[in-house]
């Protein structure tokens, strides 16, 4: 039994336990997790091909997954992705002439008219309306309740891929630092990062690369400030590698480092190190871990500069549950992966960022990116 057969068997047992008759997932991290078929990266603005609202796959405890795929721009891709995947039952292609209401009816019929259907967390309203028009009595629920806990714990193969994504990220960052020159803008540096991530083996970025140059003169007329002596450059970027992602942050000081900068830097790194040490299975919740890092910065009197959650789950998607914040009482389990990013923005406009993807292990957290956390002065 390979990894996808195993995951499909687990999801089917869980469906039966919860009296869910069928599941319809859009192209998503969930579907990649279950079948190995990667979603194509989102475009910056909305695209919409005929049948897109039903683009995905359905399954029941007895049958499927059956993929439903728009002809245009998707069917060749899915056929390529599913080649040799004997755990996939069928691919139904939606032609430009097919009415979406008929496609919805076909799907419900092949699912043997489920009473209770679990759908993707982000399934489009349009898709739900189509399905409810085809069967007005259909009860819908969120498939994430089953899939989220499964995806949160990364197995050995996933861990290996995510470690490699981390290695690519470290290597790309190292190459970028060697290429930063006075006068470069945030845009120039961002472009270099994205290029180095691809050169080092990534297939693209996991989210929009953010480079913030602060600590020197303020922006004029919305123009970004170029690198100059005294600049502080905060990085936040990540790569996609074999369907898994990284998310990484560091802070680089140009020319010299002020005493204040050094103190902020020390505090942020101490907060991160404290959190990483505490990432042991069964011993701490997501909310408690968040509080632990916050306590460190509070002790310095800088808690108010740390304005966001400590981190987020990560894997196929850049943000996945669980989340390291006060409302999430998930107990950390071995194999879970989180970003740990107690970054601050101070009242005098300095950003100190650090971020690494860290896995929960019995010996405490194991970071997948290992670029130096010491002072980085270029």
């Amino acid at each position: 039994m390979n990894v996808y057969e195993d995951r499909l068997a687990r999801i089917r047992r869980e469906m039966q336990r919860r009296e869910i008759d069928a599941m319809y997932l859009m192209m998503s991290g969930d579907l990649q997790y279950l079948t190995g078929v990667e979603r194509q990266p989102h475009n910056p603005t909305d695209d919409d091909k005929h049948g897109d609202e039903l683009y995905g796959a359905f399954l029941t405890p007895e049958m499927g997954p059956v993929f439903v795929v728009p002809r245009m721009g998707a069917s060749d891709y899915v056929r390529e992705q599913t080649r040799g995947s004997h755990w996939i039952e069928d691919i139904v292609v939606i032609d430009d002439g097919d009415r979406p209401e008929s496609v919805a009816s076909m799907a419900l019929e092949r699912m043997d008219f489920p009473a209770r259907l679990a759908v993707s967390d982000r399934m489009w309203a349009r898709a739900l309306f189509r399905l409810r028009e085809a069967d007005p009595g259909l009860q819908l629920c969120n498939a994430a309740r089953i899939l989220t806990p499964m995806r949160a714990v990364k197995d050995q193969k996933e861990t290996q891929i995510m470690r490699e994504a981390g290695r690519i990220t470290d290597a790309a960052f190292s190459a970028v630092l060697k290429r930063i020159r006075l006068g470069m803008t945030e845009y120039d540096i961002g472009r270099e990062i994205e290029h180095q991530l691809v050169l080092h083996g990534g297939s693209g970025v996991s989210f929009h690369t953010t480079v913030s140059i602060c600590g020197a003169e303020p922006a004029v007329d919305g123009e970004t400030v170029p690198v100059q002596p005294g600049s502080v450059i905060a990085f936040d970027f990540g790569v996609v590698y074999r369907g898994y992602v990284s998310d990484f942050g560091r802070t680089v000081f140009v020319g010299n480092m002020t005493e204040t900068g050094r103190r902020y830097h020390d505090a942020v790194m101490e907060a991160q190190a404290t959190a990483i040490r505490a990432m042991r299975p069964g011993e701490i919740t997501a909310a408690e871990l968040n509080q632990k890092a916050r306590d460190v910065l509070d002790a310095y009197g800088w808690g108010e500069y740390f304005t966001h959650r400590l981190g987020h789950g990560i894997g196929i998607d850049v943000h996945e549950p669980p989340f390291l914040y006060q409302l999430d009482d998930t107990v950390l389990q071995e194999g879970m992966c989180f970003t740990v990013e107690p970054s601050i923005r101070t009242s005098d406009g300095l950003c100190v960022r650090v971020e690494d993807v860290v896995q929960v292990t019995p010996d405490g957290g194991e970071p997948f990116t290992n670029f130096s956390r010491d002072y980085l002065v270029i």
Copy 2:
């Protein structure tokens, strides 16, 4: 009354006419159209901040729009975007400690407990579940039915911005052609396109840039083939400029052009020109226009190489209704904008692409990109 007040007044009249009590839109092209608040570009993989499923705005015929905005990564952005926008009633910030179910209840209460709520076409299932948990009797319908016909017809200001997006696209393409050298890969050229689009004033790409090098030796081991004498390069890319987009295609022949290439090229350009001439208001439907271009290629015996729809509506999003294909019987109206792209991929592996955004006018279609449609040989 400015453009947003006017659009909000129109949408409210339409809601009353259709007995829709309230509307909840996610951050989307629809919400930009109604309020001027631009959605941030989608990330390639899913991101998820606390409260993201309710990130958007709601309104009724009597009140709103009220924005609902996650604190993290969104509230500063929306405050900046809404500065001076007196047609926006309020901004409610979702803090990390706020329970989403309370936010959903707050929203329904402020909407005065609607019986019938219109939601975004792509509203997340998770958001709909939240709203239905807060009010199990809530009736939901698709807001696209009202918004789609409004957005399809571009007013003078939108037309001006889209013309400028076209001008940027033409200028960037011209700069790219001067920089193509033997040995460049699809990736190299794509990177140059994206750079030139930004240098010429764009804020980013509207969809993933596609460069296909065909006509020369086939790819080995999944490596892309670099440009060589005899290559045929098909381009498909677009820019975002002030919240509106372009979508553009051409075909470039490297070194020389075969007689066969010339004949395919002529046929594709004739199909496009025929369609553009026919784009007069009130005289033709989307489906008929699609057929008109198809007839030209059919007459050459190459209809089977033209495997997708003739084009799609375009504006804030790269694909918007109406769509130029057999199931869409929308009658073309003055001000509507479509891509016209009767591109072919022949059985011998040659791609001939052409694509321009074209507006419907009483004198026939007016293209917003005007780069030469003659043979392009470099």
